[in-house]
Symmetry: C2
Subunit: 219 residues, 2 copies
């Protein structure tokens, strides 16, 4: 690992002391060069020089003006080659998954040791991502949670109502749905009314949104 070239990085964090501290720590090493630091995403954007880009940006989450999620998304849009390593004090699921979804290639706690930070930076450069125990479990769960998760309202619905709801998520008119289900349009009216009542909705759009939110249909 020591034979690697010097990695140019940047630090984005609103706590000046922390920012300078990390910069100072890393400056002592000859594997890493801190190109610049910024107190938030907007400052980062202004300091980014297209002809001298960092390879990795250490990114805090909570920051004024432009936070870590927004900043990371902006980077992925404008400089997708720059790797973002989230550096935060939060160990909850939401910020971790949020930063990963925003495009971060890794997530590290601020209480980590310097050595871990260096390894993370190098891993991100060499392998494109850095996963530690903190992230991997949450990550796998977040992908899976998309799947299961059932709402209680759904149990109130009969098979035919579910079938009807599914057909609502198409460009078929109610009359056409009646045709497909071999029912009278009036019966379809009943289904619609029943669903509106059960789900507390008032339009077909509402039905579609409900069906999608509850993964009754695949988008």
């Amino acid at each position: 690992m020591q034979q690697d070239k010097i990695i140019p990085i940047a630090i984005v964090d609103d706590h000046t002391l922390f920012r300078n501290g990390v910069a100072s720590l890393l400056s002592e090493l000859n594997e890493i060069e801190v190109m610049f630091d910024a107190a938030n995403g907007e400052e980062m954007i202004n300091k980014l020089a297209p002809d001298a880009l960092p390879e990795v940006i250490l990114m805090d989450i909570t920051m004024p003006v432009m936070n870590g999620y927004e900043s990371t998304q902006w980077l992925k849009k404008n400089y997708p080659q720059i790797k973002v390593l989230a550096l935060s004090m939060f160990e909850e699921d939401a910020p971790i998954i949020g930063m990963i979804k925003s495009g971060a290639s890794g997530y590290l706690l601020k209480e980590s040791k310097t050595a871990d930070l260096v390894i993370a930076i190098q891993t991100v450069v060499n392998h494109g991502f850095y996963l530690n125990n903190l992230v991997s479990g949450k990550l796998i769960r977040s992908v899976q949670d998309d799947q299961l998760e059932t709402k209680r309202e759904i149990n109130q619905l009969s098979d035919r109502e579910l079938k009807f709801l599914e057909l609502c998520c198409s460009e078929l008119t109610y009359k056409e749905i009646a045709g497909v289900m071999n029912l009278s349009p009036h019966t379809i009216d009943n289904y619609r009314e029943t669903l509106f009542q059960k789900l507390e909705l008032k339009s077909r759009t509402g039905l579609v949104l409900f069906a999608i939110k509850n993964k009754l249909i695949k988008v």
Copy 2:
């Protein structure tokens, strides 16, 4: 690790020789006990005894009658405590992400060494999941890919059309949308028509579906 109790597992794979081979390999160890094996998901369901469940099930993907995805989903629904370890010859993104999304706690290639398989089984039992290099990169990318990905049609749309499209994904009537956007209902009619034409749709439901498919709104 050697102080762990004996782990009861099951093997589901349509290749009899492979199934028996793995069973024989693992039977020689005293960390793992193979409770039963099955050629597909249906057979597995029949052989599952609620009073003697395996902790881990090694799951092939391609199988007749009921494949690995379906089987894993069934397990997660009916016996969520059983961990599924996908065991397959495919190293492509789709099957890996697919199995994880179906609920698998890990993914291992069939060409892996016995020792790796044992470690994977133990890791799944002790930590709830097993991530190797094969999976982690794809996983992080699959979560992120959900995000970006833009359709060419979207570029054809103006800001106001996008705003209108967003408002369509609610229970607001067109008249109410006109109010929110400070426009005449007739202008809203124009937007609708334009979008129908540009996106080749013919109903509001179609608009909603399009917006969701292209992640223009968060569900």
